[in-house]
């Protein structure tokens, strides 16, 4: 293997591939980045077995071939490259890199131990989304997933594609976030994606912009950004039927300024912060005011009020402040509505479209829902 590449392009590609370098004592090959020259392209790939990265860049190729190099060393080398073209050549058990006056030799690892990376099959359901829209969807939903490995299915984000729409949902059984976005693939399919993989894809979407091509298959999901590709394994198992949790209709509906409620909840919940279990915040909602309180005599008390508009009878309802804040944080509109049945049934938080928004903007905020279980007071 022998090639010449432009420095910044090579460094950028290497740094991107390094993000999914693995660490497993029994399979050291995962700690490597695989370089492969074929035709006039250099492809770089890495995998931690859960997520795989692959990308290719144009190079001046002198000799085809492949090499597995220690990821960490490659990272160190790439960070210290001077500003000059990079030439690389495999010689014996080393990869020699020359860049200006700097020379490096990276010891090769056995490339045959590197797992074969999955390709996208022809049967995959593929659709294209704006990167920005994808990133926002992930940011809104993924946070509601569980961090407790005891129930692996809840640590993932459920993706459900049907004709015309893709629904992303996550729940840790205390709250549920659901977002539906337009989807131009016809096939009906589902995938349960590990949260970490989706976060990684979101970061790439934010960094690279443009479009993301999503391919869903029975055992993997692939996010393609131009020449770059992230593939994730899926979580196997049955995802809970979350739709039955979502109440149909409501008895009370509160409209309130999102940022203001978030600030008030943050200030009031400071009282309970020293406790190991979060002290709930209570919303005392009347026709035109929301009074937020927290704490008891022992730990100290706090309260603060803000204006709000309630349709229906007054209500007192308690929430875990973190879960409430998370929901407010991702609701993204200026005002939000909270729908209640009573103080024991789950509440539903939705972004509220502003009156002066056009229809498509209204549609955008209307397709997100955040359900949270109240805390019994």
């Amino acid at each position: 293997m022998k090639f010449r590449a432009e420095r910044s392009e090579f460094a950028d590609a290497a740094m991107w591939a390094l993000r999914t370098v693995g660490a497993r004592a029994t399979l050291p090959a995962l700690s490597g980045v695989k370089l492969e020259v074929s035709g006039d392209r250099l492809s770089l790939s890495s995998t931690d077995l859960e997520i795989a990265s692959e990308l290719s860049v144009a190079v001046q190729a002198d000799r085809d071939g492949m090499a597995l190099v220690p990821g960490r060393l490659l990272g160190d080398v790439v960070r210290s490259l001077p500003n000059a073209a990079v030439s690389a050549e495999v010689d014996g058990d080393r990869l020699h890199l020359v860049c200006g006056r700097a020379q490096f030799a990276l010891r090769l690892m056995p490339v045959e131990d590197f797992p074969a990376l999955p390709q996208i099959s022809e049967q995959a359901a593929i659709a294209v989304m704006k990167a920005e829209e994808f990133a926002r969807t992930v940011a809104q939903v993924a946070r509601a997933s569980s961090t407790d490995d005891a129930r692996p299915v809840l640590t993932g984000v459920s993706l459900e594609a049907s004709a015309g729409s893709l629904t992303a949902a996550a729940t840790d059984s205390y709250r549920l976030a659901v977002r539906t976005v337009p989807w131009d693939a016809g096939a009906e399919t589902t995938a349960l994606v590990p949260r970490r993989a989706l976060d990684e894809a979101r970061r790439s979407a934010e960094q690279l912009g443009a479009e993301v091509r999503i391919a869903i298959e029975p055992s993997q999901v692939t996010f393609t950004f131009g020449d770059r590709r992230l593939t994730s394994r899926l979580i196997e198992g049955k995802y809970p039927d979350y739709r039955q949790l979502i109440p149909v209709g409501f008895e009370r509906r509160l409209a309130v300024d999102r940022a203001e409620l978030m600030e008030v909840v943050r200030r009031v919940s400071v009282v309970g912060e020293s406790n190991t279990t979060a002290t709930p915040v209570t919303l005392h909602v009347t026709s035109d005011t929301v009074r937020v309180t927290a704490g008891s005599g022992e730990v100290g008390q706090a309260e603060e009020s803000l204006p709000g508009t309630l349709e229906g009878e007054p209500i007192e309802i308690g929430f875990n402040p973190r879960y409430l804040s998370d929901g407010l944080d991702v609701a993204v509109s200026e005002r939000v509505v909270l729908e209640f049945r009573d103080e024991l049934k789950p509440a539903v938080l939705r972004p509220a479209p502003a009156d002066d928004q056009d229809d498509s903007a209204k549609e955008q905020v209307a397709d997100f829902l955040y359900l949270l279980m109240p805390v019994r007071l």
Binding site: A23, R24, L27, P70, V153, I235
Partner: protein, 403 residues
């Protein structure tokens, strides 16, 4: 073994033809199930069988149903335990911990495979799960993902809850027959037939014990501890009764010698561990990720502890088998039946000197010390006490009533 050069069947597992055939047949008939318990003494072929199963289920070009090609990249990596869909879980400390079960085992089990269609998850020393780990694992076993096979290595089925065992198909792994050990002894360089025969008899069905006996030792160049050969240590152990009789104060020097042996053997394990760490560190570029370093250090510490116990146990077992042979020979049995058939004259001499009652007493003492060691008593002190008592035993000619 490189694939391509050696197309031997993955099912060609020494001494485990029965288990291999059961696994091959299960794959061929498409009845692999979700979980197997490999029941039998550790290290007699479970690893090869589990890896063979991984190859049989994932080889893209099997020769016949249940018979992987043995030469493709998948087969090769399965055999080396380096295939992505094959995972081995070894205890990091003395037991498997609940955090490992939840954070690693069940997470691995819940993921789809991207290379290979079957996941093989092997739990080494599965009978060393503590209660919390066993409970957490049971939950995972109750809802097995598709195309996922758990393999539990179980030396002592009584140490695992029935709720786990009853969900596994049990497969017996037998101790090795003398012919298998003899062939292995040749491979390990035991060329002398008498030496090999002795090692095979003493190894008592365990290929690991045979490997210890076949260890050629090390002179002890700079930086490394000198180590006698495995057979030299064995011969030193069985000489102890005679030397306790002949040399004043030998009890203490024998205890010291065993202590030196412990040091030499654990140094070997330590060096191996260090070399492996250094090797891995190179892969990761000078420094290992902290999680992995900790995992490997803990595992190495466990291996050193185990090596220490193993050396002392082996020494006691050598003494035991020697005394038992003395009984046999003293009672007029056929010396050819003795484990130490190569040293019949010495057996006769010890048998005469100790008498049947003395030998029985010695056997009891050794057994008692062995049991004490399992309860984790101070190794050095226990050994010293034992050897001192054994020496008073041989010094008391009145006890030798059979003379």
């Amino acid at each position: 073994m490189a694939a391509g050069v050696d197309p031997a069947s993955v099912w060609d597992i020494p001494a485990q033809a029965h288990a291999a055939e059961a696994l091959r047949g299960a794959v061929a008939r498409g009845e692999v199930g979700h979980a197997w318990a490999f029941v039998g003494p550790a290290g007699v072929g479970q690893e090869a069988a589990a890896r063979g199963l991984a190859a049989a289920l994932n080889c893209p070009a099997p020769r016949a149903p249940g018979e992987p090609c043995g030469r493709c990249s998948v087969c090769d990596r399965c055999r080396r335990g380096a295939f992505a869909a094959y995972t081995e879980f070894t205890p990091t400390g003395a037991t498997h911990r609940v955090d490992d079960v939840r954070g690693t085992w069940l997470v691995t089990a819940s993921r789809s495979t991207t290379e290979g269609s079957w996941k093989i998850l092997r739990v080494v020393d599965a009978d060393r799960m503590n209660e919390a780990a066993a409970n957490a694992f049971l939950k995972g076993l109750e809802e097995p993902p598709e195309r996922t096979v758990w393999i539990l290595d179980v030396a002592d089925p009584d140490e695992l809850p029935d709720t786990i065992l009853s969900r596994c198909r049990s497969l017996m792994f037998a101790a090795w027959a003398p012919a298998d050990l003899d062939a292995q002894g040749l491979r390990l360089g035991l060329d002398d037939p008498a030496d090999r025969a002795l090692a095979v008899r003493v190894a008592a069905g365990s290929p690991a014990a045979l490997a210890r006996l076949a260890d050629p030792g090390e002179v002890g160049a700079k930086g490394s501890v000198a180590r006698s050969s495995g057979l030299a240590y064995l011969r030193a152990h069985r000489d102890i009764p005679a030397r306790l009789r002949a040399e004043k104060g030998f009890a203490l020097s024998a205890a010291r010698a065993i202590d030196d042996e412990v040091k030499a053997r654990t140094a070997l394990v330590k060096d191996e561990g260090r070399a492996e760490l250094a090797d891995l560190a190179q892969s990761y570029g000078d420094e290992l990720p902290r999680g992995i370093a900790k995992q490997i250090e803990e595992r190495n510490a466990r291996r050193e502890r185990e090596a220490r116990t193993l050396v002392v146990q082996a020494a006691l077992d050598d003494l035991l088998s020697w005394y038992r042979d003395c009984l046999l020979v003293g009672a007029g049995g056929d010396p050819a039946d003795a484990l130490h058939a190569d040293a019949v004259d010495a057996l006769r001499a010890d048998a005469r000197a100790l008498g049947a009652a003395g030998i029985l007493r010695a056997v009891d003492l050794v057994l008692a010390t062995r049991a004490e060691l399992e309860r984790n008593l101070q190794v050095g002190l226990a050994l010293e006490a034992l050897l001192l008592e054994l020496s008073t035993l041989t010094m008391a000619p009145l006890r030798a009533g059979s003379r």
